[in-house]
């Protein structure tokens, strides 16, 4: 393209225009990049379409890998079955006791709440889908969920699994959606310590772990093994959803591991935001990310 191809004028012009086209490609790319960083909503439609294609392939392949994986682990489960059976029976007895205790506590709780006239808003599940893919070659942490706009999902909805909080929806296709995981650097979850209830902030670190910091400056409140739950502050995430478990302390906070591992959660549920207005706010916040 920059080499002189010989004496042919036609070939020389061809190369020159090729060079111009590449420089134009760089400029167009930078303009598109600036647009998608300043207002991510500008390419919503086309990104959603590509996401659907991506998720349909990933979904089909996921079935295959899940079947193969299931066969392998299924065979493994027969190994040592008698001992496992005994253990499970013992666990079950313990769990039954705990369940009865929990039911009693829940009843008491309801009575107390009625006495205080507190109204409990139960979050409504919109759709349940599988986690079929992820951004495995990027510093950002996204997952692809197999439900989309046609299932009633909207951008900004919180996503959770049985094990805990997964993240929130940032890109929407018709049959699929992209989830910003709580381990992404741009994800900030208002949370609190389950032990003691001290308010903390959980921000992703981009490598699958989460930074937790106390909201109030002071003594480091964390211990290894502490459980972090959502606080419900801000109204997007419902309160008392499991978020992460502390694994390491650092000088003014701690590093935690999300309890819902997207690689092993089979189903994730998208819910309506805890407070209806929070979704609008979160959607607006997504459109104008904080510039640094």
């Amino acid at each position: 393209m920059t080499e002189r191809p010989g004496w042919s004028r036609k070939a020389q012009y061809g190369l020159f225009f090729g060079l111009i086209a590449v420089v134009a490609g760089i400029i167009v790319g930078l303009v598109l990049l600036a647009m998608s960083l300043v207002s991510p909503a500008s390419f919503e439609r086309i990104r959603g379409g590509a996401l659907d294609v991506n998720a349909s392939i990933a979904g089909a392949l996921h079935e295959v890998t899940a079947t193969v994986g299931g066969l392998a682990s299924g065979a493994g489960n027969y190994w040592d079955a008698a001992r496992q059976n005994g253990e499970l029976k013992r666990e079950r007895r313990l769990m039954l006791q705990r369940m009865i205790e929990a039911t009693a506590i829940r009843q008491e709780n309801r009575q107390l709440k009625e006495a205080l006239q507190l109204r409990e808003r139960s979050p409504t599940a919109i759709a349940a889908g599988r986690v079929v893919g992820s951004s495995f070659n990027s510093p950002r942490r996204f997952a692809i969920l197999s439900v989309g706009a046609s299932d009633g999902l909207r951008i900004g909805m919180p996503v959770r699994a049985a094990e805990g909080l997964v993240g929130r929806i940032i890109d929407l296709g018709q049959q699929s959606s992209r989830v910003l995981l709580i381990s992404d650097r741009a994800s900030i979850v208002p949370a609190r310590l389950l032990r003691g209830g001290q308010p903390v902030i959980a921000q992703g670190r981009g490598d699958g772990t989460i930074d937790v910091r106390p909201l109030e400056v002071g003594r480091n409140p964390f211990k290894r093994g502490d459980i972090i739950v959502t606080s419900g502050t801000g109204g997007l995430y419902p309160p008392l959803v499991l978020v992460a478990k502390v694994v390491r302390l650092d000088d003014d906070g701690a590093v935690a591991i999300p309890l819902a591992d997207p690689a092993t959660t089979s189903f994730a549920i998208a819910e309506a935001p805890f407070e209806p207005r929070a979704q609008e706010i979160s959607a607006v916040a997504d459109m104008a990310p904080e510039r640094r």
């Binding site: 790319g29 992820s134 950002r140 490598d207 591992d261």
Partner: protein
């Protein structure tokens, strides 16, 4: 190369089939589609396969595709990998341009020089990806990028070998 050409069933003087010139671009698109694999990673250390494919093709031949194709191929990659639109468009066009300039400057070429060139481009691409993530509100520590950088650089020879095999296959058709 000559030996592999002799292995072809094609008659002498007959050109490769009509689709042969499009194989390099198609293989880059196929590499972009690898992001649809159901790999659920919490670390993000996998390489950007399509970018490695693109520079491997461009290092192997000076004309795998017209240079301006880097822009639309980059757009396809952005759409499928979920990177901000325009990221690969700009990066890939710039990489192709840099490799053209490198073609002019290098006196001789061997595997080591190609690997070093690829490594430099991969470092720049990772740095750019890191900056773009920070502009998008996710300023991860630069140290987080090191494992994925090392994996990409170490994987490049494998991709280059794969590209060489594809090239021989398409010309022997």
């Amino acid at each position: 190369m000559v030996r592999s050409a002799l292995g072809s069933k094609r008659r002498i003087g007959e050109s490769p089939p009509g689709y042969a010139p499009y194989i390099p671009a198609l293989s880059v698109v196929a590499a972009s589609l690898l992001s649809a694999l159901p790999i659920i990673s919490v670390s993000g250390w996998y390489p950007d396969f399509a970018f490695l494919m693109l520079i491997a093709w461009r290092l192997l031949r000076s004309d795998p595709f017209p240079a301006w194709w880097a822009a639309p191929l980059g757009l396809v990659n952005d759409l499928f990998t979920g990177a901000p639109i325009g990221f690969s468009v700009a990066l890939w066009s710039a990489s192709v341009l840099v490799l053209d300039l490198a073609d002019r400057r290098t006196m001789w070429r061997d595997y080591w020089i190609e690997w070093v060139l690829a490594a430099v481009l991969i470092v720049v691409s990772k740095w750019f990806e890191w900056r773009v993530a920070a502009w998008g509100g996710a300023d991860v520590p630069l140290a987080n990028m090191v494992p994925s950088l090392a994996i990409s650089i170490l994987l490049f020879p494998v991709v280059a070998w794969l590209v060489l095999r594809i090239d021989r296959w398409r010309l022997a058709q």
